[in-house]
């Protein structure tokens, strides 16, 4: 069986990084599974599930020259590659408010206590430099039901953030 790895690359964003990294992996005999690339601020970030006949050292050898030439830091972890086991979110939550320290910790804390398992989260800072606002999108599984999460969100909305929860009903046709 092939070995599975999580490959992480971080560095200053510039065009062409994904194609160079993907080519290096392909030429190194590796296969890509799921991946997530994001530009955060002006940084390039990507995490890729990679399977490879060889060991982690071989992946590093394949990718290191590209990483170095493009100014990226490379990190490789051994993982179990489990494809075809998607977990379907059943709730989508948007939280936003004036930016202040601790929003994410507070909101995700009460939601976790109410049974939320986060599948996907992204957050952004918008507004103006003088009045920044924080916006967070969360997809997750409501392990203890949607009403438990609604009650949890009531707590944080009393503390001055705005939150909106919508159930996700996936249509299978």
């Amino acid at each position: 069986m092939d070995n599975g790895y999580m490959l992480t690359l971080v560095g200053k964003d510039r065009p062409g990084i994904v194609s160079h990294v993907a080519s290096a992996l392909y030429e190194g005999g590796c296969n890509l599974g799921e991946s997530s690339m994001l530009r955060l601020g002006d940084s390039f970030t990507i995490m890729m599930m990679v399977t490879c006949e060889d060991n982690a050292h071989a992946i590093e050898q394949a990718v290191a020259p590209v990483a170095e030439s493009m100014g990226l830091r490379l990190h490789v972890d051994k993982i179990d590659v489990t494809l075809h086991h998607h977990v379907e979110p059943d709730v989508h939550i948007v939280v936003y408010g004036a930016d202040r320290p601790g929003i994410v910790a507070r909101v995700t804390g009460v939601l976790a206590e109410a049974g939320l398992n986060i599948i996907n989260l992204d957050s952004n800072v918008g507004g103006t430099p003088a009045q920044p606002i924080y916006i967070m999108h969360i997809d997750g599984v409501a392990n203890e039901g949607v009403s438990a999460l609604e009650s949890a969100l009531e707590i944080v909305t009393k503390e001055g953030v705005d939150a909106k929860l919508s159930p996700i009903e996936t249509m299978i046709g």
């Binding site: 075809h84 998607h86 379907e88 979110p89 996907n120 009903e169 996936t170 249509m171 299978i172 046709g173």
Partner: protein, 167 residues
């Protein structure tokens, strides 16, 4: 009744355009029974199109009555269906028995009017909205050789891009 085999993408037959039904006989009705059984056997399946089992004819079944808090018309057998009116937009998550283990966000019309004939060739017109309207649009796409993969919108971004206002 028999359960039929569901074609899975990348089977190219899923990308073909289906032809209209012009014979309404027992063979057709027998096929529709099998198609319904196949739909109900799928995990959470609320709709199916004939092209998903390799019969390239304009036949679809939709039944969302098992979903809680959803307005619906019960079991709909949609033959030679046409959407004659569209209104509004809605974003929802969709999956497909022909595309296992993947779901994504798709934008659909919120409210539609559909004309169709049933398995006896009798004409009908319904107005529907929400989950049932989404299911009908998904199935009618199959008749045009379209999958929800052709209509995916970004997992991360919202329905409408921010407008850039000019002073």
């Amino acid at each position: 009744m028999a359960q039929l085999e569901i074609l899975k993408y990348p089977d190219r037959r899923l990308k073909e355009v289906s032809v209209a039904v012009d014979v309404f006989d027992d063979e057709l009705r027998h096929f529709i029974d099998d198609l319904e059984e196949t739909m109900r056997a799928g995990p959470g399946g609320v709709g199916i199109a004939a092209s998903q089992v390799g019969r390239q004819q304009r036949i679809a079944i939709v039944d969302v009555s098992s979903k809680p808090k959803v307005s619906h018309h019960g079991k709909l057998i949609l033959i030679n269906p046409e959407i004659t009116k569209w209104e509004g937009f809605t974003k929802g998550r969709e999956g497909c028995m022909s595309v296992p283990d993947y779901t994504g966000n798709v934008i659909r019309a919120k409210k539609i009017v559909v004309t169709y004939v049933d398995e006896w060739g009798k004409g009908h017109e319904i107005e529907t909205q929400g989950f049932e309207a989404v299911a009908i649009q998904h199935e009618l796409d199959h008749l045009e050789g379209m999958l929800f993969l052709d209509r995916l919108v970004s997992r991360r971004n919202d329905l409408f891009k921010r407008k850039v206002y000019q002073e």
